[in-house]
Amino acid sequence: MQYAAVTGIGQTQYKARRGDVSIAGLVHEAAQNALDDAGLGWDAIEAVIIGKAPDMFEGVIMPEVYLADALGCSGKPMLRVHTAGSVGGSTALVAASHVQSGTFRRVLTVTFEKQSESNAMWALSNPQPFSPHLNAGAGGYFAPIMREYMRRSGAPWDTGIKVAVKDRLHGSRNPLNHLQMPEITMQEVEESPMLWDPIRFLESCPSSDGACAMVIADEGLAKEGPKAPVWIRGGAMRSEPTMYAGRDEVNPQAGRDCAADVYAQAGIDDPRKQLDCAEVYVPFSWYEPMWLENLGFAEEGEGWKLTMDGATSLDEGGDIPWNCSGGVLCSNPIGASGMIRFAEAARQVRGDAGAHQVVGARTALGHAYGGGAQFYAMWVVSVDK
């Protein structure tokens, strides 16, 4: 297997509505930023790997076909990836595998969502006769799982509130974010409207427009770039069925298996010690303590202690900061959200994460999950090959 590295990272400004660009303009902007970052022109790209969440969101079916021109890939190979909300992570891994396998030497990978032109609630709620039509949406699906986590772990009721504040404070260091809430308080989150008990409005992710792109190259080409290559030390994907008897929805097997695989590839046996930071898909606040356990940063039932102790907070000098960029709670262009996690992990180890940089970060985890928490994608990136 060839070594593969991230040599360019490009993001757009995340907003509730990017009225100044079409979908094509949005993906072009991220891709151009990634190429500029890598010091390359469009001709340097051999293939494009693209992903987004369900086509039903914007109602544009197979949008990759129409986006080929905007991504400079007419006449070049293009591949579409689709794994629901985890797609940003999966797309990056598919792109990396095309380089690791030696199929291409340098590829562009792009993901996006334009939620302002979309109706996700509708797209996710098509009626099925074997289930009542309750219009509860994604929050309605995940809230009972969070409630079960709270029961099992005995976590303090305000653990989710703490995550919501922590990620928004992190996020206020990142000018790309949709939500900018530098003054947010625990009380403000607590008093925000309950949406799907126990999830409050300010414990939920926003709906954003945005795109993220990366250039991934083999060892020879990576060393030619203007910036230090970010080496992909491990990459793993797992999935599990949403409905099977005995499924542990709080601590899903597929997530644990995916983490074990990516850690084994990267030579990690103690993620809390050996990783410097992590960008983890947390669309609802309670998913931080849940994923701390699922990803092996804490024992089962103990994840909330890291959160409450400030271990995951940059502002509190925590030893394992999570979501320094602000995470999905600050910007959520769904299809891109996973790739933003992967890209932000890469920015950290490259040392150019600006005001949300973890000082001296060398190795970081990028994580994404999707669907009914049944799709997982993770990578570990490092300055060291």
Binding site: D20, P129, F130, A136, G137, A143, P144, D197, A245
Partner: protein
Amino acid sequence: MSEETTSSEDDITAIETPVYLTYNFTAGEATTRFLHQVRKGKVMGQRCPGCGNVYAPARGSCAACGLPTSEEVELGNKATVQSFTIVWIPIPNNPIQPPYIVANLVPDGANISFIHLMSECDNDSVHIGQRVEAVWKPEEEWDYAMDNIRYFRPLDEPDVPIEMIGKVPLSGWEGKA
């Protein structure tokens, strides 16, 4: 884009153009059997020949074992709350007025939960392990749909202990260990 053409708040930059897609739902063998029974007021499960777990509404296979679930099992009208949420968010065109309870319920005799509405209850006292029963629509309104059950309402029965949720037999639960 030049400064002159940048949209101001007064400009119309987007309009909603709803598109409708009607389609026939092809139920497949297992769901067809399930829907025919629910049309007659019965909730049927299907047992996995591998692990013995009973699925409802069954989709024809056990995803854990990868085996077809052909044996039909009748389920009780009673169920247990595995978890739940109170939905407060107002959704346009939603006929159900918030706040309402959406619960993950395991019917007696089954080993997996489905999602349904809870009503005739005090929202603040709904809890994990609570016993509930199905309230059906009048028989003349029954169709090939889970909506034949209007909602579930609380029962005056002892709670099911956590470790027993998902394992209550068809014979029910009266506080038996």
